[in-house]
Protein backbone atom coordinates (compact mmCIF):
# COMPACT_ATOMS: atom_id res chain seq x y z
CA UNK A 1 0.00 0.00 0.00
CA UNK A 2 2.88 2.35 0.67
CA UNK A 3 3.59 2.45 -3.09
CA UNK A 4 0.52 4.66 -3.37
CA UNK A 5 2.44 7.39 -1.52
CA UNK A 6 4.99 7.99 -4.24
CA UNK A 7 2.23 8.04 -6.87
CA UNK A 8 0.75 11.13 -5.19
CA UNK A 9 3.78 13.08 -6.42
CA UNK A 10 4.44 11.12 -9.61
CA UNK A 11 0.93 11.26 -11.13
CA UNK A 12 0.68 15.10 -11.23
CA UNK A 13 4.26 15.40 -12.55
CA UNK A 14 3.64 12.86 -15.34
CA UNK A 15 0.36 14.58 -16.24
CA UNK A 16 2.22 17.92 -16.29
CA UNK A 17 4.71 16.51 -18.80
CA UNK A 18 1.93 15.06 -20.98
CA UNK A 19 0.14 18.41 -20.91
CA UNK A 20 3.35 20.31 -21.78
CA UNK A 21 4.17 18.01 -24.71
CA UNK A 22 0.60 18.40 -25.99
CA UNK A 23 0.94 22.16 -25.64
CA UNK A 24 4.08 22.24 -27.79
CA UNK A 25 2.16 20.30 -30.46
CA UNK A 26 -0.55 22.95 -30.41
CA UNK A 27 -3.17 20.91 -28.56
CA UNK A 28 -5.63 22.37 -26.04
CA UNK A 29 -6.39 19.36 -23.88
CA UNK A 30 -4.65 20.62 -20.71
CA UNK A 31 -7.85 20.92 -18.71
CA UNK A 32 -8.89 17.33 -19.47
CA UNK A 33 -5.45 15.94 -18.58
CA UNK A 34 -5.30 17.94 -15.36
CA UNK A 35 -8.82 16.90 -14.32
CA UNK A 36 -7.99 13.25 -14.97
CA UNK A 37 -4.77 13.46 -12.96
CA UNK A 38 -6.41 15.27 -10.04
CA UNK A 39 -9.30 12.78 -9.96
CA UNK A 40 -6.65 10.06 -9.64
CA UNK A 41 -4.93 11.95 -6.79
CA UNK A 42 -8.27 12.38 -4.98
CA UNK A 43 -8.64 8.58 -5.14
CA UNK A 44 -5.00 8.02 -4.10
CA UNK A 45 -5.15 10.37 -1.13
CA UNK A 46 -8.41 8.80 0.04
CA UNK A 47 -6.87 5.33 -0.26
CA UNK A 48 -3.80 6.45 1.69
CA UNK A 49 -6.07 8.06 4.29
CA UNK A 50 -8.01 4.85 4.82
CA UNK A 51 -4.78 2.83 5.10
CA UNK A 52 -3.37 5.30 7.65
CA UNK A 53 -6.57 5.24 9.70
CA UNK A 54 -6.36 1.41 9.82
CA UNK A 55 -2.63 0.81 10.29
CA UNK A 56 -1.16 4.13 11.43
CA UNK A 57 2.01 5.66 9.99
CA UNK A 58 3.17 4.30 6.61
CA UNK A 59 6.58 4.86 5.08
CA UNK A 60 8.05 4.38 1.59
CA UNK A 61 11.76 4.14 0.78
CA UNK A 62 12.43 5.93 -2.52
CA UNK A 63 14.47 3.75 -4.92
CA UNK A 64 14.65 0.97 -2.34
CA UNK A 65 17.32 2.75 -0.26
CA UNK A 66 16.36 2.13 3.34
CA UNK A 67 15.92 5.20 5.58
CA UNK A 68 17.78 6.93 7.19
CA UNK A 69 20.23 6.60 4.24
CA UNK A 70 17.68 6.90 1.46
CA UNK A 71 14.88 9.40 0.96
CA UNK A 72 11.82 8.50 2.97
CA UNK A 73 8.20 9.36 2.21
CA UNK A 74 5.99 9.24 5.27
CA UNK A 75 2.25 9.48 5.78
CA UNK A 76 0.54 9.85 9.13
CA UNK A 77 -2.89 11.29 9.86
CA UNK A 78 -1.54 14.86 9.68
CA UNK A 79 0.03 14.54 6.23
CA UNK A 80 -2.97 12.58 4.99
CA UNK A 81 -5.27 15.45 5.99
CA UNK A 82 -3.11 17.92 4.02
CA UNK A 83 -3.11 15.58 0.97
CA UNK A 84 -6.89 15.05 0.97
CA UNK A 85 -7.52 18.80 1.32
CA UNK A 86 -4.97 19.56 -1.43
CA UNK A 87 -6.51 17.05 -3.83
CA UNK A 88 -10.09 18.22 -3.34
CA UNK A 89 -9.40 21.98 -3.28
CA UNK A 90 -7.20 21.85 -6.38
CA UNK A 91 -9.79 19.73 -8.22
CA UNK A 92 -12.47 22.24 -7.24
CA UNK A 93 -10.43 25.19 -8.53
CA UNK A 94 -9.80 23.26 -11.74
CA UNK A 95 -13.53 22.57 -12.30
CA UNK A 96 -14.09 26.30 -11.73
CA UNK A 97 -11.87 26.94 -14.78
CA UNK A 98 -13.91 24.62 -17.08
CA UNK A 99 -15.06 27.37 -19.44
CA UNK A 100 -11.95 29.56 -19.16
CA UNK A 101 -9.43 29.37 -21.97
CA UNK A 102 -5.93 28.68 -20.66
CA UNK A 103 -3.02 27.22 -22.60
CA UNK A 104 -1.75 23.72 -21.86
CA UNK A 105 1.29 25.29 -20.19
CA UNK A 106 -0.92 26.94 -17.57
CA UNK A 107 -2.22 23.49 -16.57
CA UNK A 108 1.33 22.09 -16.61
CA UNK A 109 2.41 24.67 -14.05
CA UNK A 110 -0.79 24.13 -12.07
CA UNK A 111 -0.10 20.38 -11.85
CA UNK A 112 3.54 20.98 -10.83
CA UNK A 113 2.33 23.20 -7.99
CA UNK A 114 0.00 20.43 -6.77
CA UNK A 115 2.83 17.86 -7.03
CA UNK A 116 5.02 20.15 -4.91
CA UNK A 117 2.34 20.53 -2.22
CA UNK A 118 1.80 16.75 -2.10
CA UNK A 119 5.58 16.34 -1.82
CA UNK A 120 5.74 18.76 1.11
CA UNK A 121 2.97 16.79 2.75
CA UNK A 122 4.63 13.39 2.60
CA UNK A 123 8.38 14.01 2.67
CA UNK A 124 10.31 12.65 5.63
CA UNK A 125 13.56 14.35 4.70
CA UNK A 126 14.66 17.95 5.21
CA UNK A 127 16.52 18.41 1.93
CA UNK A 128 13.70 16.88 -0.14
CA UNK A 129 11.45 19.33 1.65
CA UNK A 130 13.62 22.19 0.29
CA UNK A 131 13.31 20.82 -3.25
CA UNK A 132 9.53 20.52 -2.95
CA UNK A 133 9.42 24.08 -1.55
CA UNK A 134 11.18 25.31 -4.65
CA UNK A 135 8.95 23.27 -7.02
CA UNK A 136 5.85 24.69 -5.33
CA UNK A 137 7.39 28.15 -5.25
CA UNK A 138 8.47 28.25 -8.90
CA UNK A 139 5.05 27.04 -10.05
CA UNK A 140 3.36 29.64 -7.84
CA UNK A 141 5.55 32.48 -9.23
CA UNK A 142 4.63 31.51 -12.79
CA UNK A 143 0.91 31.21 -11.95
CA UNK A 144 0.93 34.70 -10.38
CA UNK A 145 2.74 36.09 -13.43
CA UNK A 146 0.02 34.63 -15.69
CA UNK A 147 -2.40 37.20 -14.26
CA UNK A 148 -3.40 40.25 -16.28
CA UNK A 149 -0.81 42.88 -17.21
CA UNK A 150 2.57 44.08 -16.00
CA UNK A 151 1.41 44.52 -12.40
CA UNK A 152 0.98 40.74 -12.11
CA UNK A 153 4.51 40.13 -13.41
CA UNK A 154 5.97 42.66 -10.98
CA UNK A 155 4.01 41.05 -8.11
CA UNK A 156 5.33 37.64 -9.20
CA UNK A 157 8.91 38.98 -9.33
CA UNK A 158 8.65 40.31 -5.77
CA UNK A 159 7.15 37.00 -4.69
CA UNK A 160 10.03 35.16 -6.39
CA UNK A 161 12.73 37.23 -4.67
CA UNK A 162 11.24 36.94 -1.19
CA UNK A 163 10.26 33.30 -1.65
CA UNK A 164 13.76 32.32 -2.77
CA UNK A 165 15.36 34.20 0.12
CA UNK A 166 13.04 32.31 2.49
CA UNK A 167 13.85 28.94 0.94
CA UNK A 168 17.59 29.68 1.03
CA UNK A 169 17.42 30.64 4.72
CA UNK A 170 15.64 27.36 5.30
CA UNK A 171 18.43 25.54 3.43
CA UNK A 172 21.05 27.39 5.52
CA UNK A 173 19.36 26.14 8.70
CA UNK A 174 19.26 22.61 7.30
CA UNK A 175 23.00 22.98 6.64
CA UNK A 176 23.62 23.71 10.34
CA UNK A 177 21.57 20.66 11.32
CA UNK A 178 23.45 18.50 8.82
CA UNK A 179 26.81 19.66 10.19
CA UNK A 180 25.74 19.02 13.79
CA UNK A 181 24.08 15.62 13.27
CA UNK A 182 25.32 14.32 9.91
CA UNK A 183 21.76 13.40 9.00
CA UNK A 184 18.91 14.73 6.87
CA UNK A 185 16.11 12.29 7.68
CA UNK A 186 13.70 13.98 10.09
CA UNK A 187 13.28 11.10 12.55
CA UNK A 188 17.03 10.40 12.44
CA UNK A 189 17.92 14.03 13.26
CA UNK A 190 15.39 14.09 16.10
CA UNK A 191 17.11 11.05 17.62
CA UNK A 192 20.61 12.48 17.26
CA UNK A 193 19.73 15.95 18.60
CA UNK A 194 18.93 14.63 22.08
CA UNK A 195 21.25 16.24 24.62
CA UNK A 196 22.43 18.97 22.23
CA UNK A 197 19.55 21.37 22.81
CA UNK A 198 21.77 24.07 24.27
CA UNK A 199 24.25 24.06 21.38
CA UNK A 200 24.43 27.46 19.60
CA UNK A 201 24.57 25.68 16.23
CA UNK A 202 21.26 23.91 16.90
CA UNK A 203 19.60 27.13 18.05
CA UNK A 204 20.97 28.92 14.96
CA UNK A 205 19.58 26.11 12.78
CA UNK A 206 16.16 26.46 14.40
CA UNK A 207 16.17 30.26 13.98
CA UNK A 208 17.19 30.14 10.30
CA UNK A 209 14.57 27.48 9.53
CA UNK A 210 11.86 29.38 11.41
CA UNK A 211 12.75 32.63 9.60
CA UNK A 212 12.75 30.83 6.23
CA UNK A 213 9.35 29.27 6.89
CA UNK A 214 8.00 32.56 8.30
CA UNK A 215 8.70 34.13 4.89
CA UNK A 216 6.87 31.29 3.17
CA UNK A 217 3.78 31.20 5.42
CA UNK A 218 3.99 34.36 5.59
CA UNK A 219 4.22 36.06 8.98
CA UNK A 220 4.52 39.75 9.84
CA UNK A 221 6.86 41.57 9.02
CA UNK A 222 7.89 39.50 5.98
CA UNK A 223 4.36 39.19 4.59
CA UNK A 224 4.70 42.17 2.21
CA UNK A 225 4.84 40.07 -0.96
CA UNK A 226 1.56 38.28 -0.27
CA UNK A 227 -1.20 40.87 -0.88
CA UNK A 228 0.08 41.74 -4.37
CA UNK A 229 0.85 38.16 -5.35
CA UNK A 230 -2.49 36.77 -4.15
CA UNK A 231 -4.59 39.58 -5.58
CA UNK A 232 -2.91 39.89 -9.01
CA UNK A 233 -3.05 36.17 -9.87
CA UNK A 234 -5.97 34.75 -11.91
CA UNK A 235 -8.88 33.76 -9.57
CA UNK A 236 -8.36 30.00 -9.55
CA UNK A 237 -4.59 30.47 -9.08
CA UNK A 238 -5.24 32.87 -6.17
CA UNK A 239 -7.48 30.20 -4.67
CA UNK A 240 -4.89 27.42 -4.75
CA UNK A 241 -1.96 29.67 -3.78
CA UNK A 242 -3.77 31.31 -0.89
CA UNK A 243 -5.34 28.07 0.29
CA UNK A 244 -2.69 25.43 -0.33
CA UNK A 245 0.80 26.94 -0.64
CA UNK A 246 0.46 28.83 2.65
CA UNK A 247 -1.10 25.77 4.31
CA UNK A 248 1.78 23.58 3.13
CA UNK A 249 4.30 26.05 4.60
CA UNK A 250 2.50 26.10 7.97
CA UNK A 251 2.33 22.30 7.85
CA UNK A 252 6.10 22.21 7.22
CA UNK A 253 6.61 24.42 10.29
CA UNK A 254 4.65 21.92 12.42
CA UNK A 255 6.69 19.01 11.01
CA UNK A 256 10.06 20.69 11.54
CA UNK A 257 9.31 22.04 15.02
CA UNK A 258 7.77 18.88 16.48
CA UNK A 259 9.24 16.03 14.42
CA UNK A 260 12.80 17.34 13.98
CA UNK A 261 13.47 19.69 16.91
CA UNK A 262 10.88 18.01 19.18
CA UNK A 263 8.95 19.50 22.08
CA UNK A 264 11.88 18.93 24.50
CA UNK A 265 14.01 21.36 22.45
CA UNK A 266 11.18 23.91 22.42
CA UNK A 267 10.81 23.72 26.20
CA UNK A 268 14.58 23.99 26.63
CA UNK A 269 14.75 27.00 24.26
CA UNK A 270 11.83 29.35 24.99
CA UNK A 271 13.38 31.85 22.52
CA UNK A 272 11.88 30.05 19.48
CA UNK A 273 8.38 30.09 20.93
CA UNK A 274 8.70 33.76 21.94
CA UNK A 275 9.80 34.72 18.40
CA UNK A 276 6.95 32.74 16.83
CA UNK A 277 4.20 33.99 19.11
CA UNK A 278 5.31 37.63 18.69
CA UNK A 279 5.45 37.42 14.89
CA UNK A 280 2.13 35.55 14.81
CA UNK A 281 0.32 38.05 17.06
CA UNK A 282 1.73 40.85 14.87
CA UNK A 283 0.36 39.10 11.76
CA UNK A 284 -3.07 38.69 13.31
CA UNK A 285 -3.37 42.34 14.34
CA UNK A 286 -1.82 43.80 11.18
CA UNK A 287 -3.70 41.43 8.84
CA UNK A 288 -7.11 42.23 10.28
CA UNK A 289 -6.64 45.99 10.60
CA UNK A 290 -5.23 46.40 7.10
CA UNK A 291 -7.84 44.06 5.57
CA UNK A 292 -10.56 46.32 6.98
CA UNK A 293 -9.15 49.29 5.04
CA UNK A 294 -8.96 47.60 1.62
CA UNK A 295 -11.21 48.66 -1.25
CA UNK A 296 -10.30 45.70 -3.47
CA UNK A 297 -12.06 42.55 -2.30
CA UNK A 298 -9.22 40.28 -3.42
CA UNK A 299 -6.69 42.33 -1.42
CA UNK A 300 -9.01 42.14 1.59
CA UNK A 301 -9.06 38.35 1.26
CA UNK A 302 -5.26 38.29 0.89
CA UNK A 303 -4.72 40.29 4.10
CA UNK A 304 -7.23 38.01 5.78
CA UNK A 305 -4.91 35.11 4.86
CA UNK A 306 -2.06 36.86 6.72
CA UNK A 307 -4.18 37.15 9.87
CA UNK A 308 -5.60 33.62 9.67
CA UNK A 309 -2.13 32.12 9.38
CA UNK A 310 -1.07 34.27 12.31
CA UNK A 311 -3.76 32.39 14.25
CA UNK A 312 -2.49 29.03 12.99
CA UNK A 313 1.07 29.87 14.09
CA UNK A 314 -0.19 31.08 17.48
CA UNK A 315 -1.69 27.62 17.94
CA UNK A 316 1.60 26.02 16.88
CA UNK A 317 3.66 28.14 19.29
CA UNK A 318 1.39 27.38 22.26
CA UNK A 319 2.33 23.75 21.59
CA UNK A 320 -0.24 21.82 23.58
CA UNK A 321 -2.53 19.15 22.15
CA UNK A 322 -5.66 21.30 22.01
CA UNK A 323 -4.02 24.33 20.38
CA UNK A 324 -2.10 22.25 17.84
CA UNK A 325 -5.28 20.35 16.91
CA UNK A 326 -6.94 23.74 16.44
CA UNK A 327 -4.11 24.91 14.18
CA UNK A 328 -4.36 21.84 11.96
CA UNK A 329 -8.16 22.05 11.71
CA UNK A 330 -7.98 25.78 10.97
CA UNK A 331 -5.29 25.15 8.36
CA UNK A 332 -7.52 22.62 6.55
CA UNK A 333 -10.70 24.65 7.08
CA UNK A 334 -9.01 27.85 5.88
CA UNK A 335 -8.01 26.06 2.67
CA UNK A 336 -11.66 25.30 1.86
CA UNK A 337 -13.06 28.67 3.01
CA UNK A 338 -10.41 30.89 1.43
CA UNK A 339 -10.41 28.96 -1.86
CA UNK A 340 -14.20 29.30 -1.90
CA UNK A 341 -14.03 33.05 -1.19
CA UNK A 342 -11.41 33.70 -3.88
CA UNK A 343 -13.40 31.64 -6.41
CA UNK A 344 -16.62 33.47 -5.47
CA UNK A 345 -14.81 36.79 -5.94
CA UNK A 346 -13.55 35.52 -9.30
CA UNK A 347 -17.05 34.50 -10.42
CA UNK A 348 -18.45 37.88 -9.32
CA UNK A 349 -15.66 39.73 -11.15
CA UNK A 350 -16.11 37.82 -14.41
CA UNK A 351 -19.91 37.98 -14.45
CA UNK A 352 -20.66 41.38 -12.91
CA UNK A 353 -17.35 43.22 -13.32
CA UNK A 354 -17.35 43.97 -9.59
CA UNK A 355 -13.97 43.89 -7.83
CA UNK A 356 -14.17 46.56 -5.11
CA UNK A 357 -16.26 46.84 -1.97
CA UNK A 358 -18.30 49.70 -3.51
CA UNK A 359 -19.00 47.77 -6.69
CA UNK A 360 -20.38 44.85 -4.63
CA UNK A 361 -23.29 47.10 -3.58
CA UNK A 362 -26.68 45.59 -4.33
CA UNK A 363 -25.25 42.30 -5.50
CA UNK A 364 -27.68 40.49 -3.21
CA UNK A 365 -30.58 41.28 -5.57
CA UNK A 366 -28.71 40.59 -8.79
CA UNK A 367 -27.02 37.36 -7.72
CA UNK A 368 -28.89 35.88 -4.76
CA UNK A 369 -27.29 32.41 -4.88
CA UNK A 370 -23.70 33.62 -5.36
CA UNK A 371 -24.15 36.24 -2.63
CA UNK A 372 -25.58 33.67 -0.24
CA UNK A 373 -22.60 31.36 -0.85
CA UNK A 374 -20.22 34.30 -0.31
CA UNK A 375 -22.01 35.15 2.94
CA UNK A 376 -21.82 31.57 4.24
CA UNK A 377 -18.09 31.38 3.44
CA UNK A 378 -17.38 34.81 4.98
CA UNK A 379 -19.27 34.02 8.17
CA UNK A 380 -17.54 30.65 8.45
CA UNK A 381 -14.22 32.51 8.12
CA UNK A 382 -15.21 34.93 10.90
CA UNK A 383 -15.82 31.90 13.11
CA UNK A 384 -19.60 31.71 13.42
CA UNK A 385 -20.70 28.15 14.26
CA UNK A 386 -21.32 25.70 12.68
CA UNK A 387 -18.74 26.92 10.10
CA UNK A 388 -15.39 25.13 10.24
CA UNK A 389 -13.66 28.44 11.09
CA UNK A 390 -15.35 28.38 14.49
CA UNK A 391 -13.93 25.00 15.49
CA UNK A 392 -10.34 25.80 14.52
CA UNK A 393 -10.39 29.08 16.46
CA UNK A 394 -12.24 27.49 19.37
CA UNK A 395 -9.56 24.81 19.84
CA UNK A 396 -6.78 27.42 19.53
CA UNK A 397 -8.40 29.69 22.16
CA UNK A 398 -9.06 26.70 24.41
CA UNK A 399 -5.40 25.70 24.09
CA UNK A 400 -4.30 29.26 24.92
CA UNK A 401 -6.49 29.25 28.03
CA UNK A 402 -5.13 25.85 29.09
CA UNK A 403 -1.60 27.21 28.69
CA UNK A 404 -2.68 30.36 30.60
CA UNK A 405 -1.48 32.53 27.71
CA UNK A 406 -4.03 35.29 28.37
CA UNK A 407 -2.59 37.98 26.06
CA UNK A 408 -2.77 35.50 23.18
CA UNK A 409 -6.41 34.69 23.96
CA UNK A 410 -7.18 38.43 23.94
CA UNK A 411 -5.45 38.85 20.55
CA UNK A 412 -7.54 36.03 19.05
CA UNK A 413 -10.75 37.53 20.47
CA UNK A 414 -9.87 40.99 19.11
CA UNK A 415 -9.04 39.59 15.68
CA UNK A 416 -12.37 37.75 15.53
CA UNK A 417 -14.20 41.01 16.26
CA UNK A 418 -12.20 42.88 13.60
CA UNK A 419 -12.72 40.09 11.05
CA UNK A 420 -16.43 40.20 11.80
CA UNK A 421 -16.24 43.98 11.30
CA UNK A 422 -14.85 43.95 7.78
CA UNK A 423 -16.81 40.98 6.48
CA UNK A 424 -20.08 42.35 7.87
CA UNK A 425 -19.24 45.70 6.24
CA UNK A 426 -18.89 43.91 2.92
CA UNK A 427 -22.06 41.82 3.42
CA UNK A 428 -23.95 44.97 4.36
CA UNK A 429 -22.96 46.47 0.99
CA UNK A 430 -24.01 43.30 -0.83
CA UNK A 431 -27.46 43.13 0.72
CA UNK A 432 -28.39 46.69 1.66
CA UNK A 433 -26.21 48.89 -0.56
CA UNK A 434 -27.73 50.73 -3.51
CA UNK A 435 -26.07 49.63 -6.77
CA UNK A 436 -23.75 52.21 -8.27
CA UNK A 437 -24.63 53.51 -11.73
CA UNK A 438 -23.59 50.77 -14.14
CA UNK A 439 -20.55 51.78 -16.15
CA UNK A 440 -20.72 50.09 -19.55
CA UNK A 441 -17.24 51.31 -20.52
CA UNK A 442 -15.58 50.00 -17.38
CA UNK A 443 -16.52 46.47 -18.35
CA UNK A 444 -14.32 43.97 -20.15
CA UNK A 445 -11.92 44.74 -22.97
CA UNK A 446 -14.52 43.79 -25.60
CA UNK A 447 -16.60 46.84 -24.73
CA UNK A 448 -19.69 44.72 -24.04
CA UNK A 449 -21.32 45.44 -20.71
CA UNK A 450 -21.11 42.54 -18.25
CA UNK A 451 -24.18 40.34 -17.89
CA UNK A 452 -26.32 41.61 -15.06
CA UNK A 453 -28.37 38.57 -14.09
CA UNK A 454 -27.38 35.47 -12.16
CA UNK A 455 -28.61 33.21 -14.98
CA UNK A 456 -25.56 34.44 -16.93
CA UNK A 457 -23.10 33.17 -14.32
CA UNK A 458 -21.21 30.12 -15.57
CA UNK A 459 -22.87 27.04 -14.03
CA UNK A 460 -19.50 25.39 -13.33
CA UNK A 461 -18.33 28.42 -11.35
CA UNK A 462 -21.60 28.68 -9.46
CA UNK A 463 -21.57 24.95 -8.65
CA UNK A 464 -17.98 24.98 -7.35
CA UNK A 465 -18.61 28.02 -5.12
CA UNK A 466 -21.79 26.39 -3.77
CA UNK A 467 -19.93 23.15 -3.01
CA UNK A 468 -17.23 25.16 -1.19
CA UNK A 469 -19.89 26.93 0.90
CA UNK A 470 -21.56 23.62 1.78
CA UNK A 471 -18.11 22.16 2.53
CA UNK A 472 -17.19 25.04 4.86
CA UNK A 473 -20.26 24.23 6.97
CA UNK A 474 -20.11 20.46 6.52
CA UNK A 475 -16.48 20.31 7.66
CA UNK A 476 -17.59 22.04 10.86
CA UNK A 477 -19.78 19.04 11.65
CA UNK A 478 -16.97 16.53 11.07
CA UNK A 479 -14.32 18.54 12.93
CA UNK A 480 -14.71 16.46 16.13
CA UNK A 481 -14.05 13.12 14.37
CA UNK A 482 -11.16 14.78 12.48
CA UNK A 483 -9.71 15.93 15.81
CA UNK A 484 -10.02 12.33 17.04
CA UNK A 485 -8.28 11.06 13.89
CA UNK A 486 -5.41 13.52 14.46
CA UNK A 487 -5.14 12.96 18.19
CA UNK A 488 -2.62 10.07 18.32
CA UNK A 489 -0.13 11.93 16.08
CA UNK A 490 -0.51 15.27 17.84
CA UNK A 491 -0.29 13.60 21.27
CA UNK A 492 2.97 12.04 20.09
CA UNK A 493 4.26 15.44 18.96
CA UNK A 494 3.60 17.37 22.19
CA UNK A 495 3.80 14.46 24.65
Amino acid sequence: MSNLLVLLVVVPILAAIVSAVGGFRGRHDGWTIATGALLVTVGLSTAVASTVSRTGRISYAVGGYVPPYGIELVADSLSVLLCVVTATVSLGALLFMRRESHSNHFYTVYLLLIAGVFGLGITGDLFTMYVFFEITGLAAYVLVASGRGGAAIYAAFKYLLVGTIGATFYLFGVGYLYIVTGALNMADIAGRLGGMYGSPAVIAAALFIVVGLAVKIPLFPVHTWLPDAHSKAPPSASAVISALVTAAAAYALIRVLFDVFTIEFLTATPLIQTVLVTLAAGSVLLGTTVAARQQSVKRMLAYSTVSQFGLVVIGISIANTTALTGSVIHLAGHAVMKAGLFLAAGAIASSFGATTVDEYAGLGQRAPILSAAFMVLALAMVGIPPGVGFFGKWYIVLGAVQAEAWPVAVVIFLSTLLTLGYFVGLLERIYFGTPTVSKPTAATDGGTSPPQAESDVDTWKLAVVLVAAVGAVGLGFVSTPVAGFLEPVIEGMVR
Binding site: F127, Y130, V131, E134, L138, Y141, V142, A145, G149, G150, A151, I153, Y154, A156, F157, L160, L161, T164, I165, T168, L171, F172, G175, Y178, I179, L184
Partner: protein, 117 residues
Protein backbone atom coordinates in the same frame (compact mmCIF):
# COMPACT_ATOMS: atom_id res chain seq x y z
CA UNK B 1 39.12 33.64 17.71
CA UNK B 2 42.39 33.46 15.75
CA UNK B 3 42.18 29.68 15.85
CA UNK B 4 38.67 29.75 14.44
CA UNK B 5 39.81 32.04 11.64
CA UNK B 6 42.78 29.87 10.69
CA UNK B 7 41.09 26.47 10.88
CA UNK B 8 37.52 27.34 9.93
CA UNK B 9 38.13 30.17 7.48
CA UNK B 10 35.98 28.56 4.77
CA UNK B 11 32.90 28.94 6.97
CA UNK B 12 33.79 32.59 7.55
CA UNK B 13 34.12 33.09 3.78
CA UNK B 14 30.72 31.45 3.23
CA UNK B 15 29.08 33.82 5.71
CA UNK B 16 30.78 36.86 4.11
CA UNK B 17 29.52 35.75 0.67
CA UNK B 18 26.01 35.38 2.11
CA UNK B 19 26.20 38.89 3.59
CA UNK B 20 27.41 40.39 0.28
CA UNK B 21 24.56 38.64 -1.55
CA UNK B 22 21.95 39.99 0.86
CA UNK B 23 23.43 43.50 0.52
CA UNK B 24 23.27 43.42 -3.30
CA UNK B 25 19.64 42.24 -3.05
CA UNK B 26 18.67 45.71 -1.80
CA UNK B 27 19.78 47.41 -5.02
CA UNK B 28 17.10 49.24 -7.03
CA UNK B 29 18.08 47.50 -10.28
CA UNK B 30 16.15 44.26 -10.79
CA UNK B 31 19.03 42.57 -12.65
CA UNK B 32 21.37 43.37 -9.74
CA UNK B 33 18.78 41.91 -7.39
CA UNK B 34 18.97 38.64 -9.33
CA UNK B 35 22.79 38.76 -9.17
CA UNK B 36 22.53 39.32 -5.40
CA UNK B 37 20.17 36.40 -5.07
CA UNK B 38 22.69 34.18 -6.86
CA UNK B 39 25.57 35.34 -4.66
CA UNK B 40 23.44 34.75 -1.56
CA UNK B 41 22.58 31.22 -2.67
CA UNK B 42 26.21 30.51 -3.58
CA UNK B 43 27.23 31.43 -0.04
CA UNK B 44 24.87 28.81 1.36
CA UNK B 45 26.14 26.27 -1.20
CA UNK B 46 29.73 26.96 -0.08
CA UNK B 47 28.66 26.42 3.51
CA UNK B 48 27.31 22.97 2.62
CA UNK B 49 30.28 21.92 0.47
CA UNK B 50 32.69 22.97 3.23
CA UNK B 51 30.88 20.64 5.62
CA UNK B 52 31.90 17.68 3.46
CA UNK B 53 35.64 18.47 3.61
CA UNK B 54 38.12 16.55 5.73
CA UNK B 55 41.85 17.08 5.94
CA UNK B 56 43.76 14.69 3.69
CA UNK B 57 40.56 13.32 2.18
CA UNK B 58 40.54 11.95 -1.37
CA UNK B 59 37.70 12.09 -3.88
CA UNK B 60 35.11 9.46 -2.95
CA UNK B 61 35.71 7.19 -5.96
CA UNK B 62 36.18 3.56 -4.96
CA UNK B 63 38.85 2.79 -7.61
CA UNK B 64 41.06 5.81 -6.70
CA UNK B 65 42.72 4.06 -3.78
CA UNK B 66 41.93 3.91 -0.07
CA UNK B 67 40.35 6.54 2.14
CA UNK B 68 39.86 8.68 4.01
CA UNK B 69 37.35 10.14 1.59
CA UNK B 70 35.66 13.53 1.69
CA UNK B 71 31.89 13.24 2.23
CA UNK B 72 30.13 13.13 -1.15
CA UNK B 73 26.65 13.76 0.25
CA UNK B 74 26.84 17.57 0.51
CA UNK B 75 28.19 17.72 -3.05
CA UNK B 76 25.23 15.76 -4.36
CA UNK B 77 22.79 17.90 -2.39
CA UNK B 78 24.32 21.11 -3.68
CA UNK B 79 24.28 19.83 -7.24
CA UNK B 80 20.50 19.59 -6.84
CA UNK B 81 20.35 23.00 -5.18
CA UNK B 82 22.36 24.54 -8.04
CA UNK B 83 19.85 23.14 -10.54
CA UNK B 84 17.05 24.69 -8.47
CA UNK B 85 18.98 27.97 -8.36
CA UNK B 86 19.43 27.99 -12.14
CA UNK B 87 15.69 27.44 -12.65
CA UNK B 88 14.87 30.32 -10.29
CA UNK B 89 17.35 32.57 -12.13
CA UNK B 90 15.87 31.62 -15.50
CA UNK B 91 12.29 32.34 -14.40
CA UNK B 92 13.29 35.64 -12.76
CA UNK B 93 15.20 36.81 -15.84
CA UNK B 94 12.16 35.93 -17.96
CA UNK B 95 10.00 38.11 -15.72
CA UNK B 96 12.46 41.02 -15.86
CA UNK B 97 12.51 40.72 -19.66
CA UNK B 98 8.71 40.96 -19.80
CA UNK B 99 8.74 43.92 -17.39
CA UNK B 100 11.37 45.69 -19.54
CA UNK B 101 9.31 45.08 -22.69
CA UNK B 102 6.19 46.48 -21.01
CA UNK B 103 7.61 49.46 -19.10
CA UNK B 104 11.04 50.05 -20.66
CA UNK B 105 12.92 50.07 -17.35
CA UNK B 106 14.43 47.69 -14.81
CA UNK B 107 14.66 50.23 -11.96
CA UNK B 108 12.43 49.30 -9.03
CA UNK B 109 11.14 52.82 -8.24
CA UNK B 110 10.41 53.69 -11.88
CA UNK B 111 8.55 50.39 -12.31
CA UNK B 112 6.46 51.04 -9.23
CA UNK B 113 5.49 54.48 -10.54
CA UNK B 114 4.67 53.10 -13.99
CA UNK B 115 2.47 50.36 -12.51
CA UNK B 116 0.53 52.70 -10.23
CA UNK B 117 -0.31 55.09 -13.06
Amino acid sequence: MIETLTTRYTYVVAVIVIAIGLYVLFDRNLIKKIVGLNIFQTGVFLFFVTAGYRTGGTPPIASAGGGPYVSPLPHVLILTAIVVGVSVTAVSLGMVFLLYETYGTVQEDELREAIHE
